[in-house]
């Protein structure tokens, strides 16, 4: 597996805390992801995975703690802010319009406008330019998608996932968060998504992968961060642990040997 610039930090979280009312959802969570690294975020339901992802993608604000992107402290107050610092989230429902073709979905609300300044002011679309870039974005992922003109509802689950990943990468994301990308997929399509994750990480993108599927984590991730009751209980290299170890950490049956 080819990895690039593994020693450069893409994103670093330090002592992230978040409470809802009296419930402490996140307690001093810290970890970092290097460029080109795939990190699995594991944990049982209610362990704080979703809350953490929402803090990174701008939906929630952490109560305290620091997020650094490319070694610079950032304030992520909204999903738009997250995008601006190079964080893209691939949502579980993929956030795509089924009736639209791939090209239209890739550029949803970030449409390329016509070059003519008057038409541009009206919001006139430059469909050709978007199609051209859509084609490029899909080629970059070597994905097996028939055409950028295909409507999303004609695609398989794996192909849809590929389009969602292409959209994230197309926007120049340095950090891509994926929420259960293979949850609804069969074996072969999961394998295709794994392949895609490898492709984008080899291009230097840092990936945070939320997953329940241990097999998937073991196959794609370099490291795993395990949350248990809002705390980070393990930050381990995948090559050092077995699936059983990970399950133990997730359920709280074992604690990491320091």
């Amino acid at each position: 597996m080819v990895r690039t610039a593994l020693d450069q930090t893409a994103i670093e979280l330090t002592n992230i805390q978040k409470s809802f009312g009296g419930v402490k959802a996140l307690k001093n969570v810290s970890f970092k992801i290097n460029k080109g690294e795939v990190v699995g975020l594991l944990g049982d339901n209610g362990a704080g995975k979703s809350t953490l992802v929402r803090c990174i993608s701008g939906i929630h604000q952490p109560d305290s703690g620091e997020i650094k992107v490319n070694n610079q402290a950032v304030n992520i107050a909204s999903p738009l802010d997250a995008r601006e610092v190079g964080i893209e989230t691939v949502f579980q429902d993929l956030a795509m319009v089924p009736e639209f073709d791939i090209s239209a979905n890739l550029f949803l609300n970030r449409e390329i406008k016509h070059k003519n300044p008057i038409l541009r002011a009206l919001g006139w679309l430059d469909t050709k330019a978007m199609d051209k870039r859509a084609k490029k974005a899909l080629n970059r992922l070597n994905s097996r998608i028939p055409s950028y003109k295909e409507a999303i509802h004609n695609l398989s689950g794996g192909q849809r996932q590929a389009v969602a990943i292409a959209r994230a990468v197309n926007w120049g994301a340095d950090i891509v968060i994926m929420d259960e990308p293979t949850a609804a997929l069969g074996v072969e399509q999961s394998a295709q998504v794994n392949e895609l994750i490898n492709v984008i990480s080899s291009q230097g993108v840092a990936v945070l992968l939320i997953s329940h599927n241990m097999q998937h984590v073991v196959e794609t991730c370099d490291r795993a961060v395990v949350l248990y009751q809002g705390q980070s209980v393990a930050d381990v290299s995948i090559s050092d642990v077995s699936k059983e170890d990970l399950v133990g950490l997730i359920t709280g049956a074992t604690t990491q040997a320091a």
Partner: protein, 322 residues
């Protein structure tokens, strides 16, 4: 891979069929009446210009309603807006000039659209119920301010420009129809605005996640629908040289049938401007044909209802298959 390809092809074929449906039915009805009415003037250019002119307010309402349907809303208040805006325009014309009267009428439409939109978003109640309510309120206001009397229009510039006359030798109603149709087509097909409308109707969650201002887009759609109805009111007033509270009251069913049969989804996410126009002309042609065949107004109403049911049945069937 092979099964996937065949699936895509069959879905594509179906979509093509649905989009093209209006063309087939338009042609079928045309041929039907042409044969049935071969000894009348049905199949003449004059008669077709007549149909286009007579249908102009319906066409413009259908185009406007297409915007509301695109975001997943229905607007039942359009018929009542026709009456109120026509009355407001006609009453203002008695004391002021054309610009103020036209602005007043159009602003009436915009105001009703805004009220519809704000109530739907604030109360989180379906557009069906809210616009049913505003339909009643607006109809009541139209009856109240007119005292159930007709308001005549004697300003001949107004009547020439909005309905009765010609502009450069072309019937003004024809120009209005083509002009509004062109603007609507561009807005829906060529501009980011149309794409956002359809995204909001097709998948509100996706639109929101991608940062589209969903609430605002829905509001715009309802304002467009209502403003189009206000323009239709002015066209009626121009053609009839006056306004009356009954204007537009029988149009709602015709407009919905026209839009639905034209290929626009009644559930949001798919809009077809050309289909809406052809649909409205189809309804006009059927009316025209039924009149020439000697059917009564009541029988025409029955025919419209049947057509709406057919159009909706096709739409629902497609929703299940899609």
């Amino acid at each position: 891979m092979i099964t996937l390809t065949t699936n895509i092809n069959s879905v594509k074929k179906f979509a093509v069929k649905r989009e093209a449906f209006i063309y087939y039915i338009f042609l079928a009805v045309l041929v039907f009446f042409a044969i049935l009415l071969h000894d009348t003037a049905f199949l003449s250019l004059d008669n077709f210009m007549n149909i286009v002119r007579q249908t102009a307010p319906i066409t413009i309402m259908a185009v406007g309603l297409t915007f509301a349907l695109a975001v997943g809303h229905i607007d039942l208040s359009i018929g009542s807006v026709v009456a109120l805006s026509a009355l407001v325009g006609a009453m203002l014309l008695q004391t002021t000039g054309i610009p103020i009267a036209v602005a007043g009428a159009l602003l009436t439409g915009v105001a009703v659209g805004l009220i519809n939109g704000v109530l739907i978003e604030r109360l989180q109640v379906s557009s069906l119920l809210i616009t049913l309510g505003t339909m009643g309120v607006v109809t009541g206001i139209a009856r109240q301010i007119s005292g159930l009397e007709s308001v005549p229009i004697i300003n001949s510039d107004f009547t020439a420009f909005f309905g009765a006359g010609d502009i450069f030798g072309i019937p003004s109603l024809f120009i209005w129809t083509i002009g509004i149709a062109a603007i609507a087509y561009i807005a829906m097909k060529k501009l980011a605005f149309g794409r956002h409308l359809l995204a909001v109707g097709g998948s509100p969650k996706a639109a929101l996640a991608m940062g589209i201002k969903v609430t605002r887009i829905r509001l715009y759609a309802l304002v467009i629908s209502s403003a189009a109805a206000a323009l239709a009111g002015l066209l009626y007033a121009g053609r009839l040289h006056g306004a009356r509270y009954t204007l537009g009251e029988a149009d709602l069913l015709t407009v919905i049938a026209a839009v639905a049969i034209g290929g626009t989804s009644l559930f949001g996410g798919r809009a077809c401007i050309i289909g809406a126009i052809l649909g409205s002309w189809l309804m006009g042609m059927i009316n025209n044909g039924l009149i020439l065949s000697g059917f009564s107004t009541n029988e025409q109403m029955i025919a419209r209802g049947v057509i709406l049911i057919i159009a909706v049945a096709i739409g629902v069937k497609e929703l299940k298959n899609g």
